[in-house]
Amino acid sequence: MQLKQQKKISQALTAATCSLLGMNSTDSLAEEGDWTFDSAILYYSEVDRVTAVEPVITAKRDFGEEKALNLKFVFDTLSGASANGATPSDQPQTFTRPSGKGRYTASAEETPLDDTFRDNRFALSSQWEQPINQDYRTGFGVNFSTEYDYSSLSANANLSRDFNKRNTTLNAGLSLAYDTISPEGDIPIGLSSMAVDRGQADYRDEFNASRGESEDNKDTVDLILGLTQVIDRKTIMQASYSYSDVSGYLTDPFKIVSVEGDDGRPVEYRYEQRPDSRGKHSLYWQAKHEFESDILDLSYRYFWDDWGITSHTVDLRYRWMLDSRQYLEPHIRYYDQTEADFYRRFFIQGEALPDHVSADYRLGDMSALTIGIKYGMELQNQQQLSLRLEYYLQTNDNTESVIPGILNDMELYPDVEAIILQLSYKF
């Protein structure tokens, strides 16, 4: 009964996928079991801030001879509040909404959060892979995503070559992306002062003077070179280098930086301004080893860019088999980054503003820890079910040499805590 129902779901999804692709599902279903599906729903929630719910489904059709088509649909819905970059103060603070219509406030001693943050995002990707001959394989893909004020289009290609009885594989990949941002209320002019409506007659003129174009773009070129090596019957390893060149509008239009008086109280807020290009590099290493039946998965990434950020990421998972069908997988991830050259928590009135400024905590000196556990079980007919629960804690460190007046009593670097819950079902 259960199997029959399962088959129905699988067939219905196949038909839906095919009609989306303009394919005839009866042709595609020539051989039963050609399509496999993998699905998940993620719930991500930060304490007092962002909450996201993200369902994902992937469909893979195996055409035999190592040819396969992969499709992925992601929908995510976000709501909640995001830190706007301003410092807390001992008095309530008022900010202008990105649209210029209306205001939001932060209570005394509270980290200013923009609570208008709400968005839905839909992403679709497809990837085709096939061998060229006995040693070479290739793949091509396109991705598209859209949300209220942002859209992204990208294409990628990769080529891999096997050596040494397929124990060694070299891989090279290229991806090009074109993103467009069109924020509500247009793009703020970097470093301009935020106009706040306090009933003044010319507020609208003040606001318009702080606005530029209605949209801007970002181009990304990604390159990746990788090496995979089988070590022995139970161990496999990979090392890769990747480079990403991003140019265009890299600023966050919703972020500001406080300019403080000598007493530490804000005098004005300036819109942040980031450089218009960024070169990012990563060295990544991963190894997997199987013990009797348990599996250890360890990876490390060293990242550096021309904004002055360097980071280390260590990720460790251990799949502990409870019996032949069930496992528990503890997970720990540690991340540590240095701040961007232009990151400042605040400015003091009279200080010259540099060309580039951001108070976005994500560009500051920080470390983060993720601790989690996943429970997985194999059901009948190769179906798999898993549930993971993780806790994420981000801690930011102070790098300002002078902290004026009342800011000494404020929490300038609050921790960010989040819960990650994910249910996955493979069928």
Partner: protein, 73 residues
């Protein structure tokens, strides 16, 4: 030695080392062929994690392309 030169030389050195000492015969691949022994054994979770960390931290990329395709706040 510059980082670039090191990076260029690394695959060649590893490749040669790999060719001589490492690896298995095709009939010894039983365990390595299991889905859970693939380097990317859970691509959906990896994708979701990449999305979370891309929007919360300043680093991205490494195991795949760095582009996020989102205006994450």
């Amino acid at each position: 030695m510059s980082v670039k030169l090191f990076l260029a030389a690394l695959p060649v050195v590893l490749l040669q080392a790999g060719c001589t000492n490492l690896g298995v015969e095709p009939w010894e691949r039983g365990r390595l062929a299991n889905p859970e022994m693939q380097l990317m054994s859970d691509p959906i979770s990896a994708g979701l994690d990449d999305h979370i960390y891309f929007s919360k931290e300043a680093s991205s990329g490494g195991r795949g392309f760095a582009g996020g395709g989102c205006g994450c706040n």
